[in-house]
Amino acid sequence: MLNASLRQLSSLLSEKKISSTELTGEFLTRIKALNPDLNAFITVNEEKSLEQARVADEMIASGQSTPLTGIPIAQKDIFCANGWLTTCGSKILSNFISPYDAAVVKQFDQAGMVNLGKTNMDEFAMGSSNETSYYGPVKNPWDRLAVPGGSSGGSACAVAARLAPAATGTDTGGSIRQPAALCGISGIKPTYGLVSRYGMIAFASSLDQAGPMAKSAEDLALLLNVMVGFDERDSTSLQRKKEDYTQSLERSVSGLRIGLPKEFFAEGMSSDVSSAVEAALTEYRKLGATFVEVSLPNSKLAVPVYYVLAPAEASSNLSRFDGVRYGYRATQYTNLEDLYAKTRAEGFGEEVKRRILIGTYVLSHGYYDAYYLQAQKLRRLIAEDFTKAFEQCDLIMGPTSPTVAFNIGEKCDDPIQMYLSDIYTSAASLAGLPGMSIPVGFGNNRRPAGLHIIGNYFREAQMLNVAHCYQQVTNWHELTPLEINR
């Protein structure tokens, strides 16, 4: 059951071989047993989950079910869920019971999926290791000394440890793909604008995008079918014809032109990750794909550009946390100015404050042109590199992250080393392109490695197809950490 695909779970539920209440109960029991050590969830509410499971069972009994009805899903704690504590990994929202549902939460509710709980994350999604969470670090289920990646580290851990069959994530510079790679699961960040961000707590609005995290590409396709859709409440939401992402999963990849950016295969990638990625490319060659070298000359600037634009937008977005309307408020203050300054000093963690300071600085008088505007210009050059590359290839592949998971505490005091963990993912984010990571084996210390697949705009179906074909001839996505099976 724990290793079953969403399609298998769907059949078991519709054939009434298991009820949603039983299935949900089984995952809740696992969470109870394993979460105290893994720390993948910030909030679990058995009563609420089981109530949703009962509703799902009624939907199934009355023939009103969708393909995902009754299947539990873990929600990243960045998504507001009505009546649920929604912390975004921060102390400043440590008492925030959301009065409304995010669009993504509502979509899964309406599909009859069961909210299994809220997963741990880097504070306000700012981090690549889950160590900036106010609620403590998450452990990587493959090696509990290692980080799970971030910022969607709790979601990645929950899926890898089989505490949930699927989870939601968000990705601003790599926050779905990097933890998916480090935890050996599959995750996709769709094209910017495809999934509504209503009720998703904002970090960097020109980059933020939600996506699913699960065991396989097929599972991701089923979840994307629910998540993608126009929402007038999100001003960046795109109006497009509804697609069925499962339809082309089985298509042959023979003749597929895979672009390999020479910059992604240069120095920086560790040899264990390189071997895993090369082996995956060999599989694709066997499947009939061809390779073409492409160049993304400006991608080396993606991390500096990202660390101007994302903090700038964050400094604006996070100004709403003022201790007046909701959330944490400092207990001692002398006047209004002091209330703001103390609430924010006490409520935000170090990394969040650091980024607000960077963002405030680059937007301040006299520095705007040199930093913010320059970064926006380079963003165009980075995006244009991809446009040129896609003239020569159908999609792009490379490593998701330069190394396998590092140890908890290893990069805490060195923000720059931490930022470079997203060196391959942030370029696609800046361009707004869809990106995904699938597991392709193991590196040092038997820690997972991920293959990064970048598609052209709106080519999610093709990316899922290409990932699915690989998963039909390999079984990395079916492996689980040994200790977890006990």
Binding site: Y307, V324, L357, R379, L430, G432
Partner: protein
Amino acid sequence: MTLSLSDIKRVAKLARIEISEADAQQNLIQLSGIFNLIEQMQAVETQKIKPMSYSQDMVQRLREDIVTETDQHIQFQSIAPQIEDSYYLVPRVIE
């Protein structure tokens, strides 16, 4: 570019974040390192390049100026730190 301690304190004030002397020092070291990384951007000539705010140069949609939300102030204020008669309470601003 060289950051100074007074830059850090000025920016913290602008961002409405109280900062101790020790934290300002610590931030000076870390932000200086981060700005060294950011400075790599200056090597590229971009005079003729148009800034890009959103991918695909997306333009944000506008909507009709009509009421879409109902009054839910009781529910929304139930999670406020301090309210009175449906007002949010803050320290006195005008004497």
